[in-house]
């Protein structure tokens, strides 16, 4: 690339969900003529259907663009899109570490939200120059000046030059481009020093193997070089490198310090080239890796089973393929008496879990049953042994437990002040410990709670939205383990424990939850030929009971004039119906009953 390093700008766009991050990215692509208009789809950087639909970015993406600035010079813009969700915080932080600046998009009608701040802090921590932008000025409810003041007061950065734009309509996008040229510093770095490149994204390509996206801090890399990944020590030969364009990869002769680009080196899985790792050259290695690498650990676990047992191999193939691209997804085979063969899967968080489930269903056309999500508990046995439990099945007998601990979070909720009461009630109910509360402005607050992770993985977000009419936003980070009074809750149908319905819960919550589950199951399990008792028990003690009454009447009294068609059809229908049921001992349970107990608040 003939453009000198002084005219390179590496930046991300950060925002709260729905504040217009991807729309702004699209406009920037258009303005730099990176995409022919006929190829322009809304939110081009969100490649997956799911991303486009949910309006979120799941994976980081990077594109290299050329911008002709008003000073008559051409600039290289490396736009690094980041996932906007807390589950992917680590990926966000790695993406930001690849930049010198961040465009902070704030919705002119909504102001600063939880993820606005969480992401801004990540950017500030990474030492980035923040370029604030006030978006959605076309909305009737837009209050750009109020939001400008909020940015200055709450975040504490000057916002007098912040462009007021409408990404949707394309208004004042050029001001954003000029601000990027003006405010974001060019990258530093030494081309002659040993190679140090940060991996901020990697994905599996069926033809080229793993493509890693890197930001070169020092040195150079060329096809034919042998690279070493410093965390794993694995070595590979570079087959190709170059720049990511909006719709394709463009090979180049090499990459050098300050640049953002991709490397393909016949790497088999993303596990070998994890986000955050440092790439160096095998024959002239850097002495020290770039800071901050860590392996991401799954935080939330659940069982995933094929609805049709015969599709177990398909499910395994699908998970294998998803894992090629998603190093944070873990899975191992497990067996359930109730659900047959399946997998225990680990996720970064709830959103990550939902995304994987949806992708299995949509992209791999699998009908799946999931069990209740669990966090990872730390159990100290009376023998002194410490074990981590993410599956209720493995929960030790209470008499063997010396101490049980559960993971906690630091949670921030941003909300109009009128909902503070509702939110405190909710957090209290979720065993939250109030930390403090700050006013963002006269009518908006930041409420800080310590909340157990297992209280927010079920339906906390939905509950929060419904109690604040959708106005509150929420963000959390893990804060370590804390001693807790935990019990294992089992559900019995007709006297038999259904392993897939067991879960670990705080003892104070066991009773109300047991009641709700029993009620929900009683509602979802159809009447059978005999009475079915549903019992919830803790340590052998029954704490809730419901009964599905026996079917009394199901008969075609009349077969008139030898017309047996109807009777035959009915029998055929019942035969089909039986296939959709799970036989648990003597009881037939429809698959939806398993899913229904995961959403008890509805």
């Amino acid at each position: 690339m003939s453009i000198p390093r002084e005219r390179i700008r590496n930046f991300s766009i950060i925002a709260h969900i729905d504040h217009g991050k991807s729309t702004l990215a699209d406009r920037i692509l258009e303005q730099t003529k990176s995409v022919a208009l006929r190829d322009m789809e809304n939110q081009l950087l969100d490649n997956m259907d799911l991303e486009r639909e949910r309006g979120i970015t799941i994976k980081a993406h990077a594109v290299t663009l050329i911008y002709s600035a008003k000073d008559g010079q051409d600039y290289v813009f490396n736009l690094i899109d980041t996932p906007g969700h807390v589950d992917f915080n680590y990926e966000v932080s790695r993406s930001l570490a690849a930049c010198e600046g961040a465009v902070l998009v704030v919705d002119a009608s909504q102001g600063i939200e939880a993820q606005t701040l969480a992401n801004t802090y990540l950017a500030v921590d990474a030492g980035l120059e923040i370029v604030p932008v006030i978006n959605k000025i076309d909305l009737p409810s837009a209050q750009p000046e109020k939001v400008r003041a909020e940015i200055e007061d709450v975040i504490g950065i000057p916002a007098d030059e912040a462009p007021c734009i409408s990404a949707k309509l394309g208004t004042n996008i050029d001001q954003v481009m000029e601000q990027i040229v003006k405010c974001v510093p060019p990258p530093q770095g030494d081309e002659s020093a040993p190679l140090k490149a940060l991996i901020f994204d990697s994905y599996y390509d069926a033809y080229k193997g793993v493509i890693i996206h890197v930001r070169l801090k020092d040195g150079q890399v060329h096809p034919g070089d042998t690279i070493r990944l410093m965390a794993t020590g694995a070595e590979f030969t570079v087959v190709e490198c170059g720049y990511g364009r909006a719709t394709c990869l463009e090979p180049s002769a090499g990459l050098s310090a300050g640049e953002v680009g991709y490397i393909a080196a016949s790497i088999k899985t993303v596990k070998d080239a994890r986000v955050g790792d440092t790439v160096t050259l095998a024959d002239n290695p850097a002495k020290k890796a770039l800071p901050g690498y860590r392996t991401v650990q799954p935080m939330v676990f659940c069982g995933i089973y094929p609805a049709d047992g015969a599709r177990y191999p398909d499910l395994r193939d699908a998970l294998d393929k998803l894992q090629l691209n998603d190093a944070a997804l873990s899975f191992e085979p497990e067996t359930s008496v109730a659900l047959g063969f399946g997998f225990r899967c680990g996720f970064l968080g709830l959103l990550h879990m939902e995304i994987i489930q949806e992708r299995l269903e949509r992209e791999y056309n699998l009908d799946i049953i999931t069990t209740a999500p669990s966090v990872v508990y730390r159990i100290t046995k009376t023998s002194g042994e410490v074990i981590f439990i993410d599956n209720p099945t493995n929960y030790p007998d209470p008499s063997l437990i010396a101490q049980a601990e559960e993971p906690m979070t630091n949670s921030h909720i941003y909300t109009p002040s009128e909902y503070v009461g509702n939110i405190m009630e909710l957090c209290q109910d979720r065993r939250g410990v109030f930390k403090d509360m700050k006013y963002i402005d006269t009518d908006r607050v930041d409420i800080h709670y310590e909340l157990p992770l297992n209280e927010i993985i079920y339906d906390f977000f939905d509950a929060l939205k419904s109690r604040t009419r959708g106005y509150a936003s929420f963000d959390y980070e893990l804060s370590g383990y804390k001693k807790s009074s935990l019990v294992k809750l089992d559900i019995m149908l007709n006297g038999d424990v259904v392993d897939a319905l067991s879960f670990i819960i705080h003892s104070d919550k066991a009773y109300p939850r047991a009641r709700k589950m029993a009620e929900k199951l009683a509602e979802k399990i159809p009447r059978q030929l005999f009475e079915v008792p549903i019992q919830a028990c803790v340590g052998g003690r029954i704490i809730a009971r419901e009964t599905v009454k026996a079917m009394r009447k199901d008969v075609l009294a009349k077969c008139y004039g030898g017309d047996i068609t109807r009777k035959k059809k009915l029998l055929e229908k019942q035969k089909e119906g039986k296939k959709r049921m799970r036989q648990l001992g003597t009881v037939e349970v429809p698959q939806e009953a398993f899913m229904s107990v995961l959403k008890l608040d509805e």
Partner: protein
Amino acid sequence: MNNVTPFGLYLHVPFCDGKCPYCDFYSLPADGERMERYTQRLLELFPAYAKRYPRPADTLYFGGGTPSLLGAKRLSALIARAKECFGLDGAEITVEVNPAEDLSAFLRDIRAAGANRLSIGLQSANEDELVLLGRRHTAEQAKKAVRAAQSAGFDNISLDLMLAVQKQTRESLLRSVQFCADAGVQHISAYLLKIEPDTVYGKKKETLCVPDDDAASDLYLFACEELEKRGFHQYEISNFAKPGCESRHNLKYWHCEEYLGIGPAAHSFMEGKRFYYKRNFSEFLGGAQPVQDGDGGGFEEYAMLALRLTEGLTDNGCRARFGGKLPERLLRAARLYEKGGLTVCGEGGFHFTPKGFLVSNMLTAEILYNGEDV
């Protein structure tokens, strides 16, 4: 199935003098010309069918609709032609009759023509229930009809009763049962009311005050018990008879034996094939052929029908028909429900109890499709 086993002949007579609000059987207003053309069409069809199936029939059943509306002359002509074409030696010949004034002459005439069994649509012996059912007769008329039939020489009479109808209580049901017993009939059909979507009842479902499923079930079990006490033993889900007076024609359906149905909406099972006439009167007159409805008589169908009977599924029955004994897996499945009082299982087979009949749809499916063979 090329044998000389007699089959059953069913004639669907689709005429009524009014439509009962619960009924979804095929019927049309009884108009003289229409009934005449219909009778002619049947008379033409008999010889054609006799040629197609050159075998005797040993039951003839006039169902409807209201066959009695055809009048003695037409019914007698049809019986005579049927005898010419299908033999009918020693046959059971049933005519469905609705109670009305002055049936004596009619009944004498059809008895003389060869009819030997009557099925009279009583439905209830309680006037208020009859009104709510939209019936156009009184209990008193029904009583007279039975007496007239007996004087005309009928010694095989069946009364229809309906269970779980509006206003019905144990007491009112008991009155209806007692009415039948007192009338000295040999057979009773007692049907649980089912609300069909395309009926007046179906359309005003919400406003009907029929007993709920639990109450309806109780009424059914009560009826079974009270009928049994009076010597009417249950032989099918909805049928009860004095010993030896079971409907031979209807048993053919449940034994999965052959029957030929003629008339719009009539169903047939002949030579392993099921077929039926569409519910369309003018097409029938115009010479429409029956619609083929695939093969019949397989094990599932046989079992499904046999389980409607109190004799149930037996080794002997299976051996006679399929040359092998009752599959062990069915017996095993049936035993699971014995404790709950839904089935009775013995060495040679099993059958449903009245409680089992009440859930026979689900119970049959559970037993047929339990485990391994699904």
